[in-house]
Symmetry: C2
Subunit: 275 residues, 2 copies
């Protein structure tokens, strides 16, 4: 593992690292924010942030304004990349498949299966690396945006005991029934829709293996709301299973990081209460 | 004037506009943040933010985390571009001269004089446009980063009564005596160093036309500190003229927006107190 940048931020440190991922079979980059409490020797809980289509480890760290509150509360934030990367890694000529669009699943289909195992990377390899390297506790939360909101919700729902809370901005709530999801799940998992349902938050929440507190925020002026995001499917699933989900729709807000920045403080305080 | 984007942010609106600049003789883009108070019909004061080398109207709005506090305090923020732009505008094959590097002066030399009049644009054309178009008062403050910190300090010092306070992050304090400044001032103004001094904050502060409150923050780990920024020259000038300058050096912080984000709240509250 090699540190490639560091910036002091709110009395803590934002750092970027590259490392060889055995799971993804390529070099990967991630960013971590270590709050001042960690710098002073205290072990702190970790929020994993999963970004959306086209993003890298940088978008959230630069645009969300999360470090101010993370510094106050003593929370480390880890932001991985959104897919395997590199010249040897399969890609597609579109923004919503291939590099930058891993969808947080383990691909079984060609040409993706050699590298595209973001589910295992987020569930196993990355937390093990973080917890072996940095001054963190085993308390974890997970959050994300859009494709990363789908990743956060599905990974939390599939892994009892791993995260104490989950939140999402503008998540792809029902990928089985939207174009982004159908395209990616067909490519990565094949045509069997029953397999897709194992990576669909609205399916998983109907009969959840875990019942960890979940918060979702969605902008009403989001261009992707109706066709791609479908929060009504998640609400229906939560109602059917009496799941502890709080889903709020915000008038005027869109799909951008301006929306995330406006509400990230509430998400961090939500996770802090549940650590 | 044409609006090209808008995003709801902290219950206010971030908007980008293009307009024809008569002063710069080209089309220009700027961003404005209108806080919720302005959206609700109240006239609000304006902070003009001048960015540094290579930046556009976007860097500060996306990375500084300023809108949260601007929304709380009821301050509009206007972020212009850092130079004239376009295919017909002269440029240089380097990041620190030409497009993205206007240095907030009125060029008198070829090939720059046709478009590079950023001083007049910031002092006259842009505020007139803002105040004729948006729900703002005539209370103004000005701030900036690096080259934009130089711009904010020099423009405030040269224009009595225009701004109620000025602040800067990591400003080029003494362009007459640093490579960035010498290169740009030679190109835009010619070889007469006496003319350069009219755009040098440390020269102007020796015998200031105005005495508006000034705050400067500088990271001690800034790679440009010793060769390009020279805050000691500004401190010396302020001491000589008993200028109301507060200049703080911050251990560990660098030249990046992570530094700006860490202290922007203090700058906004500083300007708010002086409106």
């Amino acid at each position: 593992m090699e540190m490639i940048s560091q910036n002091k931020s709110f009395d803590g440190w934002h750092k970027q690292y590259t490392h060889r991922s055995e799971v993804l079979n390529c070099d990967m980059r991630f960013a971590i924010y270590l709050p001042p409490q960690a710098v002073q020797g205290q072990d702190v809980p970790v929020l994993y942030w999963l970004s959306g289509l086209t993003c890298s480890d940088e978008n959230f760290m630069q645009k969300a304004g999360a470090m101010r509150v993370a510094a106050e509360l003593g929370i480390a934030i880890v932001a991985p990349d959104t897919s395997p990367r590199g010249e040897e890694v399969a890609d597609a000529d579109q923004y919503d498949l291939g590099q930058g669009a891993g969808f947080y699943v383990n691909a079984t289909q060609e040409p993706w299966s050699k590298h595209y195992r973001m589910y295992d990377y987020i569930v196993s390899e990355l937390p093990a690396l973080i917890e072996a390297t940095f001054p963190v506790t085993a308390k974890r939360a997970i959050a994300g945006h859009s494709m990363g909101g789908h990743g956060a919700l599905t990974i939390a729902l599939k892994n009892p005991g791993m995260f104490s809370s989950v939140s999402a901005f503008s998540p792809i709530c029902n990928p089985v029934n939207c174009p982004w999801g159908q395209q990616a799940l067909t490519a990565y998992l094949g045509k069997d829709r029953e397999l897709w349902k194992q990576h669909d938050a609205s399916e998983l929440m109907k009969n959840p293996a875990v019942r960890i507190p979940a918060r979702v925020d969605q902008g009403e002026a989001d261009n992707f709301l109706v066709e791609q995001l479908k929060p009504e499917a998640l609400t229906a699933a939560a109602e059917a299973s009496d799941y502890p989900l709080t889903l709020q729709i915000h008038a005027g807000y869109d799909h951008s990081y301006y929306f995330i920045a406006s509400f990230i403080e509430e998400h961090l305080r939500f996770h802090y209460r549940h650590f």
